[in-house]
């Protein structure tokens, strides 16, 4: 394709959400607010290395409660996942609602069968292809936290917080995780308009 402009209507519409992602966004906005926020907590979350250290930051516990993960019936791994999310989001400096994570980090034009040397410098991805592939193979736990944190750093702290949060939380789900990776691939290669529509897009929580 020689065109760089957006294709015909067909890209997945963003729906109004009361999903975990939008709750995480609200949580982050309050903390990151330059006036009434809590920079100290964010700093402590960034430095936290163990579960205990995270739990000592009240803001993290609040996030867990808001995402409905403080009851006795919540499995351990789910609680830990949310605490990890708190650590990751603490690295975000600016919320950009206009582009999903891989749309921002990936190719800015569809390359397809063209030679990569024919593509403009400005269209090249911030996240190199080899790194993108390794990113897709990220597992769970600390490895996942590190990968997402590095990604945010690469994007100079700018991210679409609600999508990032949803993707993080779905990453290890047997079905949804696959759909997240699928969506990331379409976004990364600037093929979002050709991605399958629902139910392949985790635009809302399944639980």
């Amino acid at each position: 394709m020689s065109e760089g402009e957006m294709m015909a209507p067909g890209a997945a519409p963003t729906k109004a959400r009361s999903s975990r992602g939008s709750k995480a966004l609200a949580w982050w906005k309050r903390l990151a607010d330059p006036i009434g926020g809590d920079a100290a907590s964010l700093a402590r979350l960034r430095r936290a290395r163990t579960a205990l250290e995270v739990l000592e930051v009240r803001a993290a516990v609040i996030l867990a409660r808001q995402l409905g993960a403080t009851g006795a019936e919540t499995p351990d791994w789910q609680r830990r996942d949310i605490l990890d999310l708190a650590r990751v989001l603490a690295h975000v400096k600016e919320h950009d609602p206009s582009r999903r994570p891989m749309q921002a980090a990936g190719w800015q034009t569809f390359v397809g069968d063209r030679r990569e040397s024919d593509v403009n410098e400005s269209d090249r991805p911030k996240l190199g292809e080899a790194r993108f592939r390794r990113l897709l193979e990220t597992g769970k736990g600390e490895e996942k936290v590190a990968a997402f944190t590095r990604l945010i750093a690469l994007m100079d702290g700018v991210a679409k917080v609600d999508d990032l949060a949803n993707d993080f939380l779905h990453w290890n789900h047997p079905d949804l995780g696959n759909r997240v990776r699928e969506r990331w691939a379409f976004d990364y290669y600037h093929a979002s308009s050709a991605a399958p529509l629902n139910p392949s897009n985790p635009t809302e929580d399944a639980e």
């Binding site: 015909a8 067909g10 397809g112 993108f132 696959n178 691939a185 379409f186 093929a191 050709a194």
Partner: protein, 561 residues
């Protein structure tokens, strides 16, 4: 011994109540108000098909309605069993399966077969493995010795099925009157006023009668120069018109036009034996058939137009050829050629019986009959499969017929192009080197045709609506074509996703998947060369005016900055 098929109980009839009854031919109209016969219940679909065609031929010959009003009278008031039986009685004695005289669908000259070795009766079934296959032990799926002996009913059915659909069988073994493995299309009139299918409760009589020719019709298709003093309706009443080297083929000028229903391409004599159980029907018979003798150079038919099959020409003015079943079965892709008369130089002709019924539709108040399509899919001598389908048809005037035809052609072409794009996308997503993919992926295309069938017939039905005037129909046709582009995109994407799941794909393969789906979707939206071809087939405007126009716009934009 004789076994006269006009009296014997050799046909399995199913009644509306579900009861299956082995009875005589005339039982077709027995208790037609209380519990009518609604279908045949033979052991095999090819028997069902061939016997139906045979019965249509018998009714045409025995009851012989002179013209359309005679036809209408019997449509409204089917004959009694007695009347039908009397009509059968008055036919020549051509229905004895095993007597000394002319034998039903067998060669008259028994002496000619004295030197032939009888082969197993099973080989009379079209899909059975032949001698060569058996010798080489290649009968892997359809094995030998499935049916070692037949009762006389099954033998009669099998014999007439072979003669009706005969594929090529080697040196001098002739194909049927319509070539090897023809496609048959019958009008199925049993629908109610809402268009709902009622064949399970309405008399089979009407389905058969709907396809019966009048004397006026078959006289019209008989050339004026026909030269037969003798009765050639049932070819086995006379010595076979053989076709050895140097002999002329048999044409419509040589025989009675009704012989089309009783074609005799193969020279066969059945071998009869002791009583026993039929391996096909499970019923006992006092005489069984264990083998048959066959000779080659039977009747070679040429130039006939069978009323129950559609025909086509490769070029205007060329000879008409009978349509045969295609690989992958029959679907809406074929509907245009078998349901509508095309005006592109008359390249496709629906079956004469179907065309005739569409003219009768008004008088019998069956506005949207179904089209029952069936036949073997042959690969030369091998039977690949049996295809059968039931399609809608629409009774519309000439003017509207043209709208339907053009729209159907447009949608059919477009789906063909879309299926090419889809196949390419699936190949490139699944295989690293998609140029040299081996293996059969035609199922991908079939999936798209299957997925779009409903939308196609919905469009045809909408265009055929009686409360629409001609101008409205033309406007609706354009809207439907535009809408179909969206349909094709959605369905093709669904088929693609089914064939190319992403679960657990390695990142490198995922990239290929993304690229393939992107190329597919953008093509179906009218971009790329193939996409422009697609939109051209649909006769709808290209996005942004097409690639050339978009380039111009872009260079204007660039020049301005």
């Amino acid at each position: 011994m004789t076994y006269d098929l006009r009296y014997e109980c050799w046909l399995p009839w199913r009644r509306a109540s579900g009861v299956v009854e082995w009875a005589s031919m005339a039982t077709l109209v027995d208790r037609i108000s209380e519990d009518p016969v609604v279908a045949l219940a033979t052991p095999r679909p090819d028997f069902d098909g061939a016997v139906q065609e045979f019965l249509i031929g018998i009714l045409t010959t025995a009851l012989g309605p002179a013209d359309e009003s005679a036809w209408l009278a019997l449509w409204k008031n089917p004959p009694s069993v007695e009347r039908l039986q009397a009509a059968l009685d008055s036919l020549p004695p051509a229905f004895d399966l095993e007597g000394e005289g002319p034998r039903f669908f067998q060669d008259l000259s028994a002496a000619d077969f004295a030197d032939s070795e009888p082969g197993p009766i099973e080989q009379i079934l079209i899909e059975s493995p032949g001698d060569q296959t058996v010798k080489l032990n290649k009968d892997l799926f359809i094995k030998r010795d499935r049916a070692v002996q037949f009762g006389r009913p099954a033998a009669a059915m099998a014999l007439l099925t072979l003669q009706t659909y005969a594929p090529s069988g080697g040196q001098g073994h002739r194909t049927s009157l319509r070539g090897g493995g023809p496609l048959t299309t019958l009008a199925e009139p049993r629908v109610d006023s809402e268009g709902r299918f009622t064949a399970h409760v309405k008399p089979f009589w009407h389905k058969l009668w709907a396809n019966v020719e009048t004397q006026a019709a078959w006289s019209a298709r008989s050339p004026a120069t026909r030269r037969t003093p003798t009765d050639t309706r049932f070819p086995w009443m006379s010595p076979t018109r053989t076709s050895e080297k140097g002999k002329a083929p048999t044409t419509p000028e040589d025989v009675h036009p009704l012989q089309v229903y009783f074609g005799l391409p193969r020279r066969i004599r059945l071998e009869f034996g002791e009583g026993g159980r039929c391996d096909l029907t499970g019923r006992e018979d006092s005489v069984t058939v264990t083998g048959f003798r066959m000779r080659n150079y039977g009747v070679q038919y040429q130039g006939f137009e069978h009323p129950l099959s559609p025909y086509y020409r490769t070029k205007p003015g060329e000879e008409l050829l009978p349509v045969h079943g295609k690989q992958g079965g029959v679907g809406w892709r074929d509907w245009l050629g078998i349901a509508l008369r095309t005006t592109d130089g008359g390249l496709r002709e629906p079956a004469a019986a179907v065309a005739a019924f569409s003219r009768r539709a008004d008088r019998v108040r069956v506005m949207n009959p179904r089209l029952h399509v069936f036949g073997y899919d042959m690969d030369n001598m091998k039977a690949r499969g049996w295809t059968e389908a039931l399609f809608p048809t629409f009774a519309v005037d000439e003017e509207r017929q043209v709208v339907l035809m053009h729209t159907a052609a447009s949608l059919t072409n477009a789906a063909g192009i879309a299926s090419t794009a889809l196949l390419g996308a699936v190949k490139s997503a699944l295989f690293q080197d998609d140029e040299n993919v081996r293996g059969d992926l035609t199922q991908v295309r079939s999936d798209l045709w299957a997925a779009t069938e409903r939308d196609f017939f919905a469009a045809m039905g909408a265009l055929a609506a009686p409360d629409l005037d001609q101008e409205g129909a033309e406007a609706l046709a354009e809207a439907r074509r535009r809408a179909f582009a969206t349909v094709l995109e959605a369905r093709a994407a669904e088929v693609f996703d089914r064939w190319c799941p992403t679960a657990g794909l390695a990142p490198a393969v995922l990239k290929r998947h993304v690229t393939s789906r992107y190329n597919l979707v953008t093509t179906l939206r009218g971009y790329s060369k193939l996409g422009e071809k697609l939109f051209d087939a649909l006769a709808i405007p290209l996005p942004g005016g097409g690639q050339a126009a978009r380039r111009k716009t872009r260079s204007r934009k660039e020049a301005a900055t």
